[in-house]
């Protein structure tokens, strides 16, 4: 019985989005990062192209999150209050390919820092590291809009990824990204149709396709992962099948989501059956990241240095082994 690999050719292609700008491109980054471009399901090298490997970013912040896990504290304890220093550690020591600056401290109930203070934080990180930046905001529309507008303006030319807009609050920030040339994350709550609708709304504003990244919302392992997983699989399948309003690279946030989860951080002495909490903290993030990579994630914002190391190694090995041999290591 002779066998032939059932290859499927997809009419669609995921949009390529470039983030960050070098001096030649008008910014100050040492290099830019490109994601997307796939013409097949994740890691299906046998039937399509994946010109860009998924990228791992790490996160710093202007305010230490409530209940910040001990398993992370041990890596960052001395730099938690210094976003620039923390960013340098993420890039130099832990291999972050991008840095996300989370401006949670500008939320009226979480410190209410001013937009000017936020700009200072972002500038400190820009000065400390030379990788492209993601600027991550929060859900308080009014304040977030004010902060993001200022940040967009003050980082003009850097081609940051502005994270995020949502269906009920996208115009102000999208306009700022248009004016100062940044890329943008469109976030929707685990729903294919809402994701598509927001992308259409942005297209109606003439927001350029090649500056748009989708965040279908990450559920951590055990906390809705299966919903994120299936929504992402559906979005990626539809995008590859030719639905251009779903053919964007996808962002996931295993770091911040797993850090919230009790099962990833509770001590073994309190929950003996959950096993060693030091390893478990990284395991939780690895399992969330690896499964969502298979569902179509192109850009990951992670927290745990050990998890970052492992996930980057897996991505690199998968891309390396298959690039060298063209169609991959498959023998028919």
């Amino acid at each position: 019985m002779s066998f032939e690999i059932p290859r499927e050719t997809n009419p669609g292609k995921i949009v390529e989005v470039t983030i960050g700008a070098t001096a030649a491109q008008g910014g100050t980054r040492s290099r830019s990062v490109t994601i997307g471009g796939s013409t097949a399901l994740p890691f299906y090298f046998f039937e399509g192209l994946h010109p860009h490997a998924p990228v791992v970013a790490m996160e710093v912040f202007d305010r230490v999150p409530a209940k910040y896990p001990d398993s992370l504290r041990e890596y960052y304890q001395d730099v938690l209050d210094s976003p620039g220093e923390m960013a340098r550690r993420c890039v130099d020591d832990f291999g972050a390919e991008m840095v996300s600056v989370r401006l949670e401290g500008t939320h009226p109930e979480k410190g209410n820092r001013s937009a000017e203070e936020a700009v200072e934080v972002v500038k400190a990180v820009l000065a400390a590291v030379d990788v492209p930046l993601i600027i991550t905001g929060h859900s308080h529309f009014e304040k977030n809009n004010e902060v993001m507008r200022k940040v967009c303006e003050s980082t003009a030319g850097e081609n940051c990824l502005i994270n995020y807009v949502e269906t009920n609050n996208y115009k102000t920030i999208a306009a700022a990204c248009l004016a100062y040339h940044h890329a943008l994350v469109a976030q929707t709550p685990i729903d294919v149709n809402m994701a598509k609708q927001l992308n259409i709304l942005l297209a109606d504003m003439s927001f350029p396709q090649d500056r748009l990244v989708m965040d279908p919302l990450t559920g951590a392992l055990g906390y809705g992962l299966e919903y994120s997983y299936s929504i992402m699989e559906r979005i990626r399948n539809d995008g590859l099948a030719g639905d251009r309003m779903l053919a964007f690279p996808m962002l996931i946030t295993p770091g911040v989501e797993c850090a919230k989860v009790k099962e990833s951080r509770a001590a073994e002495k309190d929950y003996p059956s959950w096993g060693d909490e030091k390893r478990r903290g990284a395991y939780w993030e690895i399992a969330t990241a690896m499964s969502l990579l298979l569902a179509g994630a192109d850009l990951l914002i992670m927290d745990h240095p050990r998890a970052v190391e492992v996930v980057r190694k897996q991505i690199a090995e998968m891309f390396h082994s298959t690039k060298e041999e063209g169609r991959g290591s498959l023998r028919t």
Partner: protein, 445 residues
């Protein structure tokens, strides 16, 4: 190829006798086509119908059973993506035991895996298999290891033993236990006979698709269909792609040689790499994953992933309806009410925890529906909420007489107060993420 309902109808007696439990032959045919009924329910089915349907109803991915009562059934999958329907038979997770590792470690491995089980969202999670790898020359060590596992475990057993005589003697220790035999070399006639004789299954390994297809054809021709396929390829990318190709061939091309459960054995690196590889392969069709060492944190993580991926997307996981203690509540702590959709419960309880407040969370039975769906479907309405609160005697458990309902069902607050005399109903926030700021702004107890 699968037959349509109409194709099947043509093969039925068309007497509408109803003895199959379905009123008409047409309806019965439709049920067979949807795999909701079997031809054997029809007492008058012709031989011709049985033959035609037998070939067509052979599942695209065979079900294979390893072990007896406490054993494992894998395979039987019908879709490539869980959102298309569901994945049916959760991945069997096993631990590798090497016969060279010494009896003491073997005993410890067995004891640890055997005693490890954990409750999560009302499900008991545990490992399913032992994989004995005979990596020494000492036949007695193999026999001893098999005996030790058999003595203290009902989990399924897979044996990897390149020495034929040792393997035969080992299998003799397992009458009626339906073990699986892992072959390091290409399948031979004698393997088929050996497996058939004791009702064992075979794990067939090949490095190319063509080779694998030829081996499984040989087994099928020899009358053996309890097969498990191992086509690892190079690195994780090779494993993922091979699994994808095999499964797609079976489901989309009806390529029978690949219509079997898939196997993965994880290399002995550090736990982090093992977990990363296991997680990826679990998502991509591995029906059996063999881990190199016992690690509670890793098993717990992988069990949780298995639970997530194998949840039926159309049947949300529910949590038990009852009062949950969030943090360390006292009778004076505030009371929140929500539905028993597991995700709702997790998010709400997580955000209450994040708020730093301890509270009582009353989880009503809404058959696993989320707040708005349950409200629209009449399952999260004042009458039912009030009855539940009375049934669980909440008044005796807490001192407060304030109860917080989700912001999305603000409209029920008046009626709920009427149905719960003495209680004040407070309308909470719409999004769970806003609970931390909500508890700061309102006096709840």
């Amino acid at each position: 190829m699968a037959l349509s309902g109409l194709d099947i109808f043509k093969l039925l007696p068309k007497t509408n006798c109803g003895e199959c439990g379905v009123p008409t032959c047409m309806a019965f045919a439709m049920k067979i086509a949807q795999k909701k009924a079997e031809l054997s329910s029809c007492p008058y089915a012709s031989e011709e119908a049985k033959a035609a349907l037998g070939a067509a109803s052979e599942p695209p991915v065979r079900r294979v059973k390893i072990g007896g009562g406490g054993g494992l059934e894998v395979g039987g999958e019908t879709v490539l993506f869980r959102h298309e329907k569901t994945f049916f038979h959760p991945t069997g997770i096993g631990l590798e035991i090497r016969t060279s590792q010494g009896e003491e470690k073997t005993r410890e491995d067995i004891r640890q895996l055997e005693s490890y089980q954990v409750d999560r969202v009302g499900e008991v999670l545990k490992a399913n298999l032992f994989f004995i790898s005979h990596d020494s020359e000492d036949k007695a060590a193999l026999l001893r290891t098999i005996s030790l596992v058999k003595e203290s475990s009902t989990k399924g057993l897979i044996i990897d033993c390149p020495q034929e005589e040792a393997l035969r003697e080992g299998l003799e220790l397992l009458p009626g236990d339906r073990p699986a035999i892992y072959l390091r070399r290409p399948l031979a006639e004698k393997d088929i006979e050996m497996a058939k004789a004791i009702n064992a299954s075979l794990v067939i390994t090949a490095s190319s698709h063509q080779d694998l297809a030829e081996q499984t054809e040989k087994a099928r021709t020899g009358g053996l269909t309890n097969l498990i396929l191992n086509c690892p390829g190079e690195g994780l990318a090779g494993g993922i792609q091979n699994n994808a190709i095999l499964r797609r061939s079976a489901l989309k091309k009806s390529f029978k040689p690949f219509g079997f459960p898939l196997f993965a054995r994880i290399a002995d690196e550090d736990g982090f790499q093992s977990l990363a590889a296991s997680a990826a392969l679990l998502c991509k069709y591995a029906s059996i994953i063999i881990l190199p060492r016992f690690d509670k944190a890793l098993l717990y993580t992988l069990f949780t992933l298995r639970q997530n991926i194998y949840t039926d997307p159309q049947k949300p996981i529910q949590v038990d309806p009852k009062v949950y203690a969030i943090g360390d509540p006292t009778p004076d702590s505030p009371v929140f009410v929500t539905t028993n959709f597991s995700l709702t419960y997790f998010i709400v309880s997580g955000e209450i925890e994040n708020s730093g407040t301890s509270a009582h969370l009353v989880v009503c039975d809404t058959e696993g529906q989320s707040v708005l769906t349950a409200w629209a479907g009449g399952k999260f309405v004042p009458e039912k909420i009030a009855k539940f609160i009375k049934d669980i005697k909440l008044e005796e458990k807490v001192n407060t007489r304030k109860i917080v309902i989700p912001g999305f069902v603000a409209q029920i607050s008046g009626e709920l107060e009427e149905k719960l005399p003495g209680w004040e109903v407070i309308v909470g926030c719409q999004e769970a993420a806003d609970i931390p700021s909500f508890v700061k702004s309102v006096k709840l107890a």
